[in-house]
Symmetry: D2
Subunit: 338 residues, 4 copies
């Protein structure tokens, strides 16, 4: 942590910074330049220390954090890539894992039709929402417990692991009983009560990036899961909110190499929520694979025109099948496979 | 809702839109221009209908919503300003209500010292956090139940209503037992499980704006509370996330007149979280009152240098007292009082 | 254009809208719903009509534009893809055209070394800045006229077309005399004096997207060039400004399919300015090709450590050569070539 | 400048950083922590040194700038507030200076009617655009030279100084001949050719903030003007681009105290462009005065319904007159006057 004093700061003010740092067990290096005095604070826990500790002291101009605020999710904590295994499917290895299915589970027929289609086209994990976080109280909220049962039945029937979202901290155990992977949605990335409970679960967790959270905040949220003892964490980039309105969100393609650089966790991409329109999904999905994503989470609906939720961004089974062919070629061109 | 067909759309595609609209009980007005066909769909519930219903149909270029997606929070639903009463304090009337106190309750001494100071300077409601939503699992998480007890004791002792945050849907009743006002934090504005439970509570709720949510989404979140039967809803603007980094968030001052235009709910401002630095709080607080805010939520700490949370943005009691004098003058200049 | 009247709007107010529209020669379709009256205005020029024309009238709630504000750049104006030719290089066809070279021309040695390296690795066009738009007046501003001469010499020497930036409207002819392609930088996308002059030039223009401009504004800026008679316009996505700070800008990968959907113009990607760090450039470049970009603009410096401008985001010749191998494989996997 | 080495950086890499710093005449302080080595570089010119100089060196993790990149605009360069005088009007003193008039000069009648109205209501400077930077080539571009003549005539007639925008670097002298204050618009804040020419002019310059530029970039742009020898620089906050779409831009009210803290330059506010709708202008204008703005730039049109540009955000003379009464009361409540 670097504390910059105001120009012409008094010796008393400088001493106060040094004293506070010493009381916290930090090493100090004092740099008295011609214009400015700068105090460098060194120690292994400065990443977790709030900058305010020093910023509130008199005649301090600014405090800059050098160490990242996350710890367990960092590459410095674990150098080699983490791999999360669901049955025999490894996420974070050479395979690019495709999870696909409808945004919301609507009925047994709809779910099974979608599941068979995505499995046939090469997806390895079935997605489907039972609890839906909807922005309006007047919208369809999901089939809830009944949806979980339909997912469990589909898994049984097709031998395909399922991923579904959990929105209430009190529902973690219930959802974990039916699903192979828990999904924490974008709007809940900083729902710390939910993260704490999901961190205690034995199920792998897909942690979607908050649509206005930085990568640093995202990895710090992953620390909540990891600190709870759950090390099966998969990150999912799904687009961030920007001023651009021709897509629903702006997929942050740069997040893929950035996560790979700073973290050991696998990272997948949801092109559907970013695009917001089915016609834009394939290009973003192809880009994600080329950029190095470890998997994709794609919305597929047997009949998008009749979908209760997010039909516009859902691919039809035949569009999905065509996309899978394209993705396989790209994966191979970079030495991976689907 | 306005459905714009692609240039040269076929009659079949146009008919499909019309049929779908009719099946939903909507009135239709067909506009066949030289270049484009546009279908206007009319009916009182189009605000709650997803645009995807029509956007997924073939040869549709775009669908534009005319009605707002929120309903109960709108001025059209209720023309006159709503007033929320806590004891004899009215929020939304002529008085500008100041809520102040420490970010986190740390101890009885700290809370009581802050409470006496803010009451002495003219604040009418005491704020203090017992449950703290912290971005890192390694940060101080609040005194929790013990913090609630300290708040209840302060209320008893000073005859001052208290506001505190609730973060877990399962804690709503617990917090409501100790607090006069429930606060839903920015990171939880779209935590629909929490909103649903807070909507069932009899306590007034301060709904902070999500730091990356539009005003439309904010009012739609308010609809969750209102739809649950709780009509004591107070909105709180606390800054939005932008590219600017010299303040912690960018206070959206325009949100005040916008909310007043489209909604009947009272709106207050939290200048502390937006500013991020005590030296910037007074100017933003003054601006909020001048813009027409119905109240302020300000962090005051008896000793910011020792604060466990957000010390840098906390005012000292004497700074707060000076600010209150300024705010009173501004309130009077626009025909209000504090 | 859709004009929505306020709930309970008077007949006089509705008539005023209708009269104004008629006076502008527009067709009108009046939709009087139970709650709201909506007036649809039809005609081929409504895209170029300001919405204010109607929004200022009494009792108007909102005005929504259906037609896009750009015209010449739209797919509706020209259905087939435009191809821009520089010598025998076609941009917008099956080939993915790579333009590479140093951010700034620093000396003959530096330019020639970079030029030979990028040509050897397969780049077809040489980039290099002579006039540099620098955010600080104390930074290196480019070699200016001397830089143009060095570029012209490199072109002569290696038979490689060159692209360079023009920043002053008065310099368009000067730059066009030395360069094969004029580049309009991100900060100048809405410098309309510059666009007007570049529109009169006979040289192809690469129009970089303003880092905070929407795709709609970008295509409208392209209209300035096209309206001036210059139809050799190439768009370049180079990252937009968002709250994320781990990359210099956030590359908007979704812009590629969006531009392809709404415009006939070719679109290339500059991964260097978006990434801001050489280690992140390859992943973004690969993603751009997979998403369908028609070309890339990449910074390569023979010795990034000694670069006067943007060294951190420049690839070394050997990194560039490795990247070109990867890009070739991806281009082939989607049926294109480099 | 603080250079942080990667964990486990080699001695060679550390030496390379130290050698480079010494070659630039910087003082070095080496901090070898248990986990990380951090090198502090000290010297009075580090603010103007690109961080890339060190960031490109091997095994460097990050480089953090401590000194601000701007110099002449900083409070450290000049401690006391700068005051810009136009005739006997001082901007930056106790008076809050109101500049008002039409967005675009349309005719003599329109301009004179507006000018008389704003002068009558207490505005001291007349605004009016002769050259209009329009996003579409098909929109009205201003009366240009004829508009300048009308402005000069109005000044003569009413004894009121005028402010108008200059958009082409080649037009600076022409505009300076007719106008008392040159305005550099938001889209030109980083048009360095224009800034350089305006910096050579003897006229005061209002520098509008780029709608996606940070305050640091804004003050660095002011350095261009100041470095050219023109020290009559007035900053103007006019709203930044965010995700919020209920206002045209989001006025960054926090920018007022931030500019006052870091710079000696006066700062005014344009509430009209931020609001985008006349009904929202008064609240934002009041907030600006309360926050400490030194002036306002407001659009007033005798007949907004007939305005050729930005009618929706223009106040009528009677609305403006009412607002002036409110603003006077607020100015007085904070010890200033209009």
């Amino acid at each position: 942590m670097i504390v910059e004093m105001r120009t012409g700061a008094s010796q008393d003010a400088i001493d106060a910074v040094v004293d506070r740092a010493r009381s916290l067990g930090l090493d100090i290096q004092l740099n008295q330049g011609t214009d400015k005095t700068v105090v460098a604070l060194l120690g292994s826990n400065t990443g977790q220390l709030p900058t305010d500790t020093f910023a509130v002291l008199p005649e301090v101009e600014s405090v800059t954090r050098i160490m990242k605020p996350y710890k367990l999710a960092s590459r410095e904590f674990r150098e080699t890539d983490s791999i999360v295994s669901i049955d025999d499917i490894e996420i974070g290895g050479k395979r690019v894992v495709v999870m696909a299915g409808p945004c919301a589970v609507e009925s047994q027929e709809q779910l099974m039709e979608a599941a068979r289609a995505v499995q046939g086209a090469g997806a390895s994990i079935l997605r489907g929402g039972a609890f839906k976080p909807r922005t309006s109280p007047f919208s369809f909220q999901g089939l809830e417990a009944e949806g979980l049962e339909l997912l469990a039945a589909a898994r049984e029937n097709l031998g395909m692991p399922v991923i579904t979202e959990v929105v209430d901290p009190g529902d973690v155990d219930l959802v974990a009983a039916s699903a192979d992977i828990l999904q924490v949605g974008s709007r809940n990335m900083q729902n710390f009560a939910l993260l704490t409970n999901a961190g205690r679960s034995r199920r792998p967790v897909v942690l979607k990036r908050g649509f206005s959270c930085t990568i640093t905040e995202w990895l710090t949220a992953a620390d909540y899961l990891l600190a709870g003892g759950n090390n099966q964490v998969i990150l999912c980039e799904r687009g961030i909110r920007t001023f651009e309105d021709s897509t629903r969100f702006s997929l942050d393609i740069g997040a893929i190499p950035v996560v790979k650089k700073y973290s050991h966790l696998p990272v997948i991409v949801d092109p559907s929520h970013a695009a917001g329109h089915y016609s834009l999904v394939p290009a973003i999905a192809r880009a994600a694979v080329a950029a190095g994503a470890d998997g994709l989470l794609i919305e597929v609906h047997p009949n998008p025109k009749e979908a209760l939720v997010d039909g516009l961004q859902s691919l039809t089974p035949s569009d999905f099948s065509r996309l899978m062919t394209e993705l396989r070629a790209i994966a191979e061109s970079i030495g991976r496979y689907i």
